[in-house]
Amino acid sequence: MNKSVIEINKVNKRYKNKSVLADLTINIEAGQIIGLVGRNGAGKTTLIESIMGLKEIESGEIYLWQQKLGDLPQKQKELIGFVPQDGIGFEWMRVNQYLEYFGGFFHHWDKNYSDDLIKRWKIDKKSRIADLSGGQQQILQVIQALSIKPQLLILDEPVAHLDPNMRRQFLSELVGLTCELGTTVLFSTHIISDLERIASHIALLNNGKIEHFYELEDLKAHAASLLFEGEVAERQQFNNLINWQSINQGSKAILADPNGPSLEAIKQQLNMTIQSQPLSLEDWYLEVTNEANN
């Protein structure tokens, strides 16, 4: 079994009267690429910033590499790359100055690699950050995080401003890095197709909890829309089936959780024909988030 890189136990966080994280628990192991999804305001940024120590949690524990967040040795801290959601800042700096400045904070800073990325992503080193487009500014932040050669990379919506070409390049770079260094990646996104392309796991944050956390291949293999030939009376016994609907002489449901009874087991138990149609990841996301909010 791989070693745990991020371990979060029963973390709670409230903003005034609104609970954002409620007994949230998740364990992320080395080498995993976790796509964190959830509706707007679900608490993705709060979770990410809590892991980075930028938000104070009310209760619970956060461990990085099995050590309490506050007790992490300096060398370990320098192995964390972080791209926050709220813009780059430093508008007065030029691109090369920005990278040079951040490089000064990290021992493992790979200048050649950062120069290479700058060249490949066609960003003018001499440009002032204020003159870069929103997407280029975001890429620059990503370059800064990647050039640390991080062991843990935490990205808060890193591709929101990128065009499809840049997104592709960024994602393949991320895959290359994880293969080369075994980097563990946690990234939040609303673009499910990107997640499908690179993530090893998907974590869905809803109602302050990680409600779904699966290996992506497992989920893709099992998630399905099911059509039952007859009415199913005891629906609650299948807790991995959601969004039940009664239709003409039959029922419809979504198999949302790959960890519950398999399709074969359900067929045997109900002793009826079930038509199964694979569900895309985006459809799965829509179904589970709709179910959670109904």
Binding site: G53, G89, W92, Q97, Y101, F102, F105
Partner: protein, 441 residues
């Protein structure tokens, strides 16, 4: 009207609670100052009136900066460019908000013996003019207009009637509002920034930005921004690093002193010092709070228990910055006094620079803990204590020689400031990084 009311709520941020808190603070502040500052039995009524006008000016400047900040945020909407109704709504809301706060001060001014026209109109006009410091998009609007109330009030030294001064004030305010309303090109640059406009744009007018960029290039030539733990690069704009803010405060001082006749003294000096402290340092803290989120990608490197190292480093670099600014301010004043004989009182300015530096350093950690973007009880309380100490301390310094700094009352005052520094450092240590990074709300 409904639209104006909802825009007003955004301007006033904490809705009407802030007006109530502000009213209580105004009355309390004036009461304290009257009790300690002027002996009504012996002072002339004119002096008493002048005193209250200076204080009201100071409070109005404070409010104007807040309203300007709210206005600027709403001005960022593309609607400002394409929808004349939106522009009109914002301008009317700004005027309403300024006069609501002005009305709060009406009682205090009326009590001080001013007639109703000036009591009713002057605070609102001063508030609108000081808001230009934030929303002005050129040097005239940004620096000259906020200084006009003070310059106009000094015209009484030339026996010009207050009603005429009020008329001039209304004309200048109308001109400023007209220039704001007809400003359609500046906001184009906002659209090119990230979601909420970039940080530089939030902080400075377009021509100040280009200065800042030139200073940045110069800074790069002198000192490459490399080096571990140099958080100050993320927290202070290059232009201010070169003392631009000290220079502007210095110019403001010189202009103000020019209009003070040689016989007037303690009261004006007290008020000047408080205003300089208020406007100069407050601008700096707002800038720092806006820039703080630039440290997010590296904050975890200093993330031991309660981010103690992170906070200590921030405090150290701001301490250094304030000290350097104070030194630059003093050098600037001394140079001017050498060049222009008899224009300023160099020793007095030296003492004021010293006072500004030590009071600023004493309060600095506490200032870092405050939310500068909403008017709230904590902020008003700290500002009142801060202003009262500055007022008293600078008045005392004016009346005494440098050697008197070794006397018992001075030593007690300095000990008091050291204690304030210790308490405020403790508060800063307890402050969460989350609160520090939070820009609004």
């Amino acid at each position: 009207m409904k639209q104006i009311t909802s825009t007003l709520n955004i301007f006033l941020r904490q809705e009407w609670i802030s007006v109530t808190v502000y009213f209580i603070a105004t009355v309390l502040f004036l009461f304290i100052i009257y009790q300690t500052g002027v002996d009504l039995a012996t002072e002339e009524i004119e002096h008493h009136q002048r005193h209250s006008l200076l204080l009201i000016t100071m409070l109005s400047i404070f409010i104007g900066l807040y309203l300007g900040n709210g206005f600027l945020r709403l001005q960022k909407s593309p609607l400002w460019l394409i929808h004349p109704g939106y522009r009109l709504n914002l301008i009317l809301s700004l005027i309403c908000a300024a006069f609501i706060y002005g009305a709060v001060q009406f009682t205090a001014m009326f009590y001080a013996g001013w007639g109703w026209p000036i009591s009713l109109l002057a605070p609102g006009c001063i508030t609108l003019l000081s808001a230009q410091f934030i929303i002005g998009n050129n040097l005239l609007l940004k620096y000259i207009f906020p200084a006009t109330p003070f310059i106009l009030f000094q015209l009484t030294n030339y026996e010009i009637n207050y009603n005429l001064i009020l008329l001039l004030l209304i004309i200048v305010t109308s001109l400023a509002i007209y220039l704001n309303a007809s400003n359609k090109q500046k906001l184009e640059s906002w659209a090119s920034g990230l979601m909420s406009g970039n940080l530089q744009q939030q902080l400075k007018a377009a021509n100040i930005l280009s200065w800042n960029n030139k200073f940045a290039d110069l800074y790069q030539k002198i000192h490459a921004p490399v080096g571990k733990s140099d958080l100050s690069i993320a927290l202070i704009q290059p232009a201010n690093r070169f003392g631009l803010s000290s220079l502007l405060i210095g110019i403001f001082c010189l202009v103000s002193l020019y209009f003070i006749d040689s016989d007037s003294g303690k009261l004006e000096i007290e008020t000047f010092a408080t205003m300089i402290l208020g406007s100069g340092l407050m601008g700096g803290f707002i800038e720092l709070k806006l820039l703080a989120r630039q440290t997010k990608p590296v904050a975890h490197l200093f993330g031991q228990s309660q981010h103690a190292i992170f906070k200590k480093k921030i405090l150290t670099c701001i301490d250094k910055h304030i000290s350097i600014q104070a030194a630059l301010f003093i050098i600037f004043i001394l140079l001017i006094s050498l060049l222009v004989d008899g224009f300023v009182k160099p020793l007095l300015m030296l003492k004021m620079g010293f006072s500004i530096a030590i009071i600023g350093l004493a309060f600095l950690p506490m200032m870092l803990c405050l939310n500068w973007f909403n008017i709230n009880f904590k902020l008003i309380l700290v500002m009142l204590i801060y202003a009262a100490i500055a007022f008293w301390f600078c008045g005392w310094i004016y009346q005494h020689s440098l050697m008197d700094l070794l006397s018992l009352p001075a030593l007690l005052a300095i000990t008091g400031l050291v204690l304030i520094r210790l308490v405020s450092s403790y508060l800063w240590k307890r402050q969460s990084v989350e609160q520090f990074m939070r820009v609004y709300g």
